[in-house]
C-alpha cells in the first residue's frame, strides 16, 4: 500500500437512510472506511445492520445519502459502471454459500467465472488462477471439477471466498460469513479470513451478531439499534468499555464458556 492512498478513506458513507414505508430500515448512517481497515457492524435482528449492508453493496437503493468511492457517489453510477464495480473492486460474501455460488457449476468454474466476468479469456490462465485460489482457501486441486453441492458447509464458504477474491477486490462486504457453520469450522474460517485480510491489505465491512467474531476480525465497530448507529469505536474499546446503554446490555448478555 502506498502512502498517498493511505491518506484518503477508501469509502465514505454519508447520511444513508432506507425506509420501508413508515418503518425505518436504517437512518442517517455515516462512516469512513480506510484502506486495510476491517469495520464490524453489530446489533441484534432488526437493528438495521443487514439493511445497511445491502444498501452499501448496491443490492437495495437507499432513500437518502451518499456512498463515495474514489470520490464519486456510487448511487449516481450507471448500471454498467455499478456492475463493473461489483465484479471487480468490490466483493460480497453471503451468509449462505448457495446465495453466492453457482451450485450447478464446478468449483473451478465458480472461481473462473468471476475472472471471465472481468475480461479474462485464456483458459489455462483462468484454470491456473482457480487452482491457486482454491489452494489459498485450502481446497485441494483434486476437487476443482467437483460441484459445490458435493462440499461441506465450511468448504462451500471457503469456495465462495475464493470466488470473491480472485479478481483482487479492494473492498469486501461480508454478511455473517461464519453464521451457518459449526463452531469448529468457524475457527478455521476466521483464521483464513484474518490471514487474507492481512496479506492482501483488504478493507472489509462485516455484519454479524457474534461479538466473538468481530473481536477477532474487526479493527473498529459500529453498534446499531433500531436502524441507527448508537456507538462506534475501536473494537476492544467498545467491547471492554461500552459507553451506550444498549452496547452495555449487548456485551453483558453474552454467555461465557
Amino acid at each position: 500500500m502506498d502512502g498517498a492512498n493511505m491518506a484518503l478513506p477508501l469509502l465514505q458513507v454519508q447520511g444513508l437512510t432506507k425506509r420501508y414505508g413508515p418503518r425505518i430500515g436504517c437512518e442517517e448512517v455515516g462512516f469512513d472506511l480506510w484502506p486495510g481497515e476491517v469495520l464490524g457492524i453489530v446489533g441484534e435482528s432488526g437493528s438495521g445492520k443487514s439493511t445497511l449492508l445491502s444498501c452499501l453493496a448496491g443490492m437495495q437503493a437507499p432513500d437518502e445519502g451518499a456512498i463515495l468511492w474514489d470520490g464519486r457517489n456510487v448511487l449516481d453510477f450507471s448500471e454498467a459502471e455499478r456492475r463493473r464495480l461489483l465484479r471487480g473492486d468490490w466483493a460480497y460474501v453471503h451468509q449462505h454459500p448457495r446465495d453466492g455460488l453457482r451450485m450447478g457449476v464446478s468449483a473451478g468454474g465458480n472461481v473462473g467465472e468471476r475472472l471471465m466476468a472481468v475480461g479474462a479469456r485464456n483458459y489455462s490462465a483462468i484454470r491456473g488462477a482457480a487452482i491457486d485460489w482454491l489452494g489459498r482457501v485450502e481446497i485441494g486441486p483434486d476437487r476443482i471439477d467437483d460441484r459445490p453441492s458435493a462440499f461441506s458447509g465450511g468448504m462451500q464458504q471457503r469456495l465462495q471466498i475464493a470466488r470473491n477474491l480472485v479478481t483482487g477486490p479492494r473492498l469486501v462486504f461480508m454478511d455473517e460469513p461464519t453464521g451457518g457453520l459449526d463452531v469448529s469450522v468457524q475457527a478455521r474460517l476466521l483464521d483464513l479470513l484474518r490471514g487474507l485480510v492481512r496479506d492482501l491489505g483488504l478493507s472489509v465491512v462485516i455484519v454479524t451478531h457474534d461479538l466473538a467474531v468481530v473481536r477477532l476480525l474487526a479493527d473498529r465497530l459500529m453498534v446499531m439499534k433500531g436502524g441507527r448507529v448508537v456507538e462506534t469505536g475501536l473494537t476492544d474499546q467498545v467491547l471492554d468499555d461500552p459507553q451506550h446503554a444498549y452496547t452495555q446490555l449487548l456485551v453483558s448478555s453474552v454467555l461465557q464458556v
Binding site: R215, D219, G233, D241, H244, A245
Partner: protein
C-alpha cells in the same frame, strides 16, 4: 514515550440505574525511553485500568494521555490500530487467540502484520519459543490446550516478537517457574537496554527491584469514595 497528565476515568452503568463510578482521578505519570516504571497499589486500585487506558481499550473521561506522540484520548481508532501494530506492545495476563491456530503462527503474527517475510517471522518466533522452553513438538498445536504457564510463555513470546518501542507488561512473571521467570526477566532487561519504555505491574518484588527504575503507587490516583 508515555506522558500522562491529570487523567481520570469513570464508568457509567446504564443498566444499573445509571450509577457512575469514578475509578481514577488526577493520574500523572511519565515513562522515558530505556526506562522501566512499575505500578504498585493494592488489588483494585486501578493498575490494570491505567494500563488498559494507555492501550486504548478503556476510554478516558478527561486529561491527556500521549504515547509516542499520539494522544490516545482523541485519536481515531485507525491511529490506535497503527500504534499497536508498530509502537505499543501489551503483554496481558490472558492469551486471546483464534482457536486451532498453531502456536508458532500465534507468535509470528505481530511480525506478519508488520510485513515481515514469513520465513523470517517464523524464525524469530521459533527462537523465542525455544528460549521460553516451549518444546518444539508443541509449536504446531494451538496454545488453547496448553497449561496456564505455557500459555503465559506463548503470550510473552508473542509480545516480544516485535521490538516495540513502548511496552506494557501486566504481571509477566506470574505463574512461571524459576527457570522461565529468569528468561522473561532477561527479555525485559534486553528490551530496556535497546531503549524500550516499559510500564509494568509486577507482584514479584524481586523482579520489580531488579527491573524498575521507579515505582508509582496508583492508590494516589484512586478517588476516596467506595463504589
Amino acid at each position: 514515550m508515555i506522558h500522562i497528565e491529570n487523567l481520570s476515568k469513570t464508568f457509567t452503568l446504564h443498566n444499573q440505574g445509571g450509577t457512575v463510578l469514578q475509578v481514577m482521578a488526577g493520574a500523572t505519570l511519565h515513562v522515558a525511553a530505556g526506562e522501566c516504571v512499575g505500578l504498585t497499589g493494592r488489588s483494585g486500585s486501578g493498575k490494570s485500568t491505567l494500563m488498559r487506558m494507555i492501550h486504548g481499550n478503556y476510554l478516558a473521561a478527561s486529561g491527556s494521555l500521549v504515547v509516542a506522540g499520539l494522544d490516545i484520548v482523541t485519536a481515531q481508532p485507525r491511529q490506535i490500530v497503527a500504534l499497536r501494530r508498530d509502537t505499543l506492545g501489551y503483554v496481558s495476563q490472558f492469551l486471546r487467540v483464534v482457536p486451532r491456530v498453531p502456536t508458532i503462527e500465534v507468535v509470528a503474527e505481530p511480525l506478519l502484520r508488520l510485513g515481515t517475510p514469513v520465513p523470517e517471522a517464523r524464525e524469530r518466533a521459533a527462537s523465542l519459543l525455544d528460549r521460553l522452553n516451549i518444546p518444539e513438538r508443541l509449536w504446531g498445536l494451538s496454545p488453547t490446550t496448553f497449561s496456564g504457564g505455557e500459555q503465559q510463555r506463548v503470550n510473552i513470546a508473542r509480545g516480544f516478537a516485535h521490538a516495540f518501542p513502548v511496552m506494557l507488561l501486566d504481571e509477566p512473571t506470574a505463574s512461571l517457574d524459576a527457570t522461565n521467570r529468569e528468561v522473561v526477566l532477561t527479555l525485559i532487561q534486553e528490551a530496556k537496554a535497546r531503549g524500550a519504555a516499559i510500564l509494568g505491574i509486577f507482584h514479584d518484588e524481586a523482579a520489580r527491584d531488579r527491573l524498575c527504575d521507579r515505582l508509582v503507587d496508583v492508590t494516589q490516583f484512586t478517588p476516596g469514595q467506595a463504589a
